[in-house]
């Protein structure tokens, strides 16, 4: 199976002049390698400045690696002629919903991507309706975006991406500016995209609870992959994760402190495990 998105020994710096012989290059990401296969749900964790957002921008040719290569369905992001194709395969949702909505009407904003792809009007209409239904915003299609809540706006932004029918969606801290209700709405939508539409998801966050849903977790620190594995494998390393300025989910921490068996990530699982051990 061909991977959708592949990072192969990627280095990137925001410095203007790269002179490695000096040895003082400040790499935003360095030696980054990982793959996203169809249907994957990958969470990328890291505190501010760990290279998470750089990783996102490298994944659809907004930034081009200084060393190494990023390939999207076999196309290198260095291939400038095929940038549009790459962006169609890997969609991106940003942090601030206000800054990614272009049009004054919800459905016209969702149509923006497909319109840029030059699709015929009927096909755009069909995709817009489908995308809005998938994120549960169909009844708001004629509203003005600035009158929606943060969570709703972010769902519109997600609809705008899935209307382009990408195979992979990268969400760059898309829940960071939302209230708990908005976060839950967005999380539910993202999980639905993954579970029902089979889209691969790269979910960049610093909320540990959101990472618990992932198939694979990538913890970043100082531009490098610090830990990787299933959520439980990663969260077992409580001290290391604390060391890079992150937290583990409370349920996992409690379960580990009590020495409960099993991969415990959510409160429900934790409660069950406690009940189980009490009964024995």
């Amino acid at each position: 199976m061909e991977s959708i998105l592949k990072f192969d020994g990627v280095y990137f710096t925001y410095d203007d002049e790269v002179d490695e012989t000096q040895g003082n290059v400040h790499w935003a990401v360095s030696d980054l390698s990982f793959e996203v296969n169809p249907g994957d749900f990958i969470a990328v964790l890291g505190h501010n400045g760990s290279g998470k957002s750089t990783l996102a921008k490298l994944s659809n040719a907004i930034l081009i690696p200084d060393k190494g290569e990023v390939t999207v369905k076999g196309i290198s992001t260095k291939d400038e002629d095929r940038t549009l194709e790459i962006r169609q395969h890997v969609g991106m949702v940003f942090q601030n919903p206000d800054n990614q909505i272009v049009a004054t009407v919800v459905e016209e904003d969702v149509a923006f991507g497909p319109e840029n792809l030059g699709l015929p009007p009927e096909e755009i209409r069909r995709r817009v309706d489908e995308a809005l239904k998938a994120v549960g915003m169909y009844e708001f299609r004629e509203n003005e975006p600035h009158k929606l809540s943060g969570g709703q706006k972010q769902r519109v932004a997600i609809a705008g991406i899935i209307a382009m029918q990408p195979e992979c969606v990268v969400l760059d801290e898309s829940t960071a500016m939302l209230d708990p209700k908005g976060r839950r709405e967005v999380m539910d939508t993202v999980r639905k995209l993954h579970d029902e539409l089979g889209m691969a998801v790269v979910f960049i966050t610093h909320h540990m609870d959101e990472a618990a849903f992932a198939d694979k977790v990538l913890v970043m620190d100082k531009g490098k992959v610090f830990l990787t594995g299933t959520p439980y494998e990663v969260f077992r390393h409580v001290d290391e994760i604390r060391g890079v300025g992150l937290d583990v989910p409370q349920a996992t921490e409690l379960a580990l402190a009590l020495g409960l068996p099993g991969d415990i990530l959510t409160y429900g699982e934790c409660a069950d495990a406690i009940m189980h051990s009490l009964e024995n």
Binding site: N60, R87, M92, D98, V102, F112, G118, L119, P121
Partner: protein, 271 residues
């Protein structure tokens, strides 16, 4: 709230004028403005005014709102009329007193000017009253996309206008937020003379500008991520279609134009 202000002066409704294609409305408004200035006598001017009254009635926009559109330019109208009255020296003299010379020609020119400017303002306001800013923008874009050589330029301007319209409420909200933040730190925005108050706005405007640039930067990223690459190869979801209404509108203005030309020929010119 400040946020709820209507942008432009769109007056939502469902009249026949509202439902006309914005492109047709744009064209017809321009044609109408041209015929206002083609009128050479009171008969043709009367016809032009009558046509406008019919359209205003059809649009179901309250007369009060229409009159309000003339208010801001009342001074200009008076000024033009007075100047014309004093400086046009054709026709028979009416008043000859010291340095003031008023002639029939002057009075007629003044009256024509008043009616022409009012008709012009009402006609163009009617366009913005009955068409949302978004539709006007789209209309302009789709109207000019037929001409290859100006397609890119018009698309760029239309896209800028759309984005500006989209961000007005966002920036107003931001302005309120920053104002409140500065007030909380003791900024005094409400007292003092004009200069002092203008100065007090600086700590509000500077952060507003900086965040706007940041927004623009992020928006550009987001647009690129959605494959935006200008007008080339771009299609639209909603294509505008001319309907019977537009045909009627076209016929109406064509008739008015014909009428003006005929009345100009049959009756003596007064201007």
């Amino acid at each position: 709230m400040l946020k709820d202000i209507t942008i432009g002066q769109f007056f939502p409704g469902n009249s026949v004028i509202h439902r006309m294609d914005p492109r047709m409305k744009l064209i017809l408004t321009i044609v109408y403005i041209v015929i206002i200035f083609l009128c050479k006598n009171f008969w043709s001017l009367g016809l032009v005014v009558l046509a406008l009254i019919i359209v205003v009635a059809l649009s179901k926009i309250p007369v009060k709102v229409i009159l309000k559109s003339i208010k801001p330019i009342a001074i200009i109208i008076t000024f033009t009329a007075v100047l014309n009255m004093f400086y046009v020296r054709t026709g028979d003299p009416l008043l000859d007193w010291k340095f003031i010379h008023i002639t029939t020609g002057g009075v007629i020119t003044a009256v024509f000017m008043i009616i022409r400017i009012c008709a012009l303002v009402v006609a163009s306001s009617l366009l913005t009253y009955t068409t949302s800013p978004t539709l006007i923008t789209d209309g302009i874009e789709q109207l000019f996309s037929k001409f290859k050589f100006m397609r890119n330029g018009v698309h760029t301007i239309a896209m800028m206008m759309t984005i500006a319209l989209r961000f007005i409420p966002t920036l107003i909200e931001e302005f309120e937020k920053i104002t409140n933040a500065q007030k909380a730190r003791g900024a005094d925005l409400e007292t003092g003379n004009l200069v002092q108050r203008a100065k007090a706005l600086i700590p509000v405007l500077v952060p507003l500008f900086i965040t706007s640039f940041r927004r623009a930067y992020e928006l550009a990223f987001a647009m690129e991520c959605r494959c935006y690459h200008g007008a080339e190869g771009r299609t639209r979801m909603k294509l505008m279609k001319y309907t019977k209404l537009d045909a009627f509108g076209f016929a109406f203005i064509a008739l008015a134009t014909g009428g003006v030309v005929a009345l100009n020929i049959f009756f003596q010119h007064v201007i």
